[in-house]
């Protein structure tokens, strides 16, 4: 038994020494594992695709379990069986960080790569709209609570006047991506759930899953035109019947030039200033957290290759600059000084402190 152990030790140590001599790295896992918020999946996928193609690495494994489950999984420990990267749309709270510390994860690097904002837009010829999130929910949800009985019934509203008398007689029409895409998930989380949060019948539902389902299931009676993934949502809105409101990311709205008009949501129009100043409500940051313990160390060994390269690439101008790869997915770039600061954090692997 004793000799077997010695033999095993030699067999384990030899390749390591050889790797260190030749300068190649020895990783315990081939691909990076990413967990986090489902709505961050689109950004994570695009960023890791780019890193994998330029650096010759294997594509990351994305497990977008939701922010809470993702964070719990991220903080479970250090080792090949634990995730390497956490993608969140809010800053890691102190409690989460303390949970990480309790499991031996002391070195986390945080990079904020930009902001996302979801907007509603109309064609210029339709004029400017102003809506509240609650009105959007009441117009688009598949089922809404009956005012008298509080029971959920198929949404009967045909025109905006049915939602509120001051909104006019325009037929209700929306266009947007299917569920599972970054912009649509963001819209569901912020606008639809935000709009239904104050609804009396919704507030009586204790279970989160049941509530989310009621809030985010959209109508199937022709009011919502689904734009297949990969097609331009702005072009689909231009081709849609008059009065249609399109669910777009802010960058899509900007890219459309003067053809589309933003809808004021809760009295605030989306603009670079209102998004950057956090005045427009439907804005959130995109953040990545990376375990330093999983990076390849100076001795050439570690858990997984490519984490440091990912941090450098994901903060590069080519990725997060105003005309970067992620801006095509709707990412609003940070101001230049903040982008530089994030790039610096990635270079020096600044330790995250909540």
């Amino acid at each position: 038994m004793f000799f077997r152990w010695i033999l095993g030790g030699i067999l384990f140590a030899l390749p390591q020494a050889a790797e260190a001599q030749t300068g190649r790295s020895l990783a315990l896992r081939e691909n990076i594992v990413v967990v986090g918020s489902a709505s961050m999946g689109g950004y994570a996928e695009a960023a890791f695709n780019q890193v994998a193609s330029t650096r010759g690495l294997r594509m990351a494994e994305l497990r977008m379990l939701g922010s809470l489950r993702g964070a719990v999984s991220f903080c479970e420990g250090v080792g090949p069986s634990f995730p390497d990267v956490l993608a969140l749309s809010r800053r890691m709270p102190k409690a989460m960080f303390e949970n990480c510390l309790a499991h031996g994860i002391y070195d986390i690097v945080e990079v904020k790569i930009g902001l996302t904002a979801v907007t509603l837009a109309s064609k210029k010829s339709d004029g400017r709209f102003g809506l509240t999130a609650k009105q959007v929910y009441r117009a688009l949800a598949a089922e809404v609570a009956d005012d008298k009985t509080n029971d959920f019934v198929p949404n009967p509203a045909k025109t905006w006047k049915d939602i509120s008398p001051e909104l006019g007689d325009t037929p209700i029409r929306f266009s947007g991506s299917p569920q599972g895409t970054a912009t649509r998930d963001f819209f569901d989380d912020m606008v639809m759930q935000g709009g239904c949060r104050t609804d009396k019948a919704i507030r009586l539902i204790f279970q989160a899953n049941a509530r989310v389902e009621k809030c985010t299931r959209v109508r199937t009676d022709g009011v919502f035109i689904e734009v297949p993934e990969g097609q331009s949502r702005a072009a689909a809105l231009m081709a849609a019947p008059p009065g249609t409101l399109g669910i777009l990311s802010y960058s899509e709205l900007v890219a459309s030039g003067n053809d589309l008009l933003a809808v004021a949501l809760n009295g605030m129009l989306p603009s670079y200033q209102t998004i950057a100043n956090d005045e427009y409500d439907y804005t959130r940051p995109v953040l990545f957290y990376v375990k330093r313990e999983h990076m390849i160390g100076s001795n050439g060994s570690g858990i997984v290759k490519g984490l440091q390269e990912f941090l450098l690439d994901v903060t590069s101008e080519q990725m997060v600059g105003p005309s970067g790869i992620l801006s095509e997915l709707g990412l609003v770039s940070l101001p230049a000084a903040l982008r530089f600061e994030q790039r610096r954090n990635a270079q020096i692997l600044r330790r995250f402190e909540p």
Binding site: L68, R90, R91, R203, F206, R211, D278
Partner: protein
Amino acid sequence: MTARHVLAVAAALLLSAAPGFTRQPLAQPQFAQQPLRSGPIVQTPLPEPTFFEEQTGTVFSVIRSGFRYALGGLSGFVTPPLALDVAKRTRSEDPYDFISMMEVAGYKLKEVESTVSLIPSVNFTFGIARELSDADREWLALQLERHAKRRWGIFASAERAIIQTLLDAQELGGYQVEKLDIDVFPWPRIKFTIAPNDSPMSLESTRILRAIEQAGGNVKASVQVWPPRANDGSVPQAAPRAGVQRAPVAPAAPTTR
């Protein structure tokens, strides 16, 4: 961590009891009539206005005022705020209002308790009303950041600390704050009741659940025996109503036992 939060909040509330820490401008002194044991009724200036005269805001504005009221009113017998009056003032459309944020955090104001005595007491009890979705948590975290930018001062910090503690308890996974008690008088105190998600039910809840299960079983049993059958297994026919044509019912196959 939670204990630290509780201590911080309690310290904040204690500190804020000092008039120097109040955010709202003090109103002009008013005159109240105080009965004495003997002699005529005299007018004595009070340092602060009466409890609800200047307040239009939230529960926390009521709490703020409560502190000042307690300080000003200890010299004599005082009338504490009535629970009903406080409850009426808890409806606010302001998204950064404490009660609104507590609602987003999944907690609802259950009770406002006030005691009439030499030293008045006011107690607020919040209970869990909803599970939070991921979107709720993200929204609340953003709202707390915005709240910190827009509102400052000790009371605003205390409000944020309370809500952050509720969020933190859920972030840990497997735990939730079931109940939150905020006492204003005689000593400021905030009590969080944290319980595991899978904690055993109380005796009363178990009894109710058993009764529901039993009722469910009875309903199921009665559905199984409907329609009632005769001893030979056939379904007895009721006399048809006038004008109603009844289709002939085939006799059921005899069951083997």
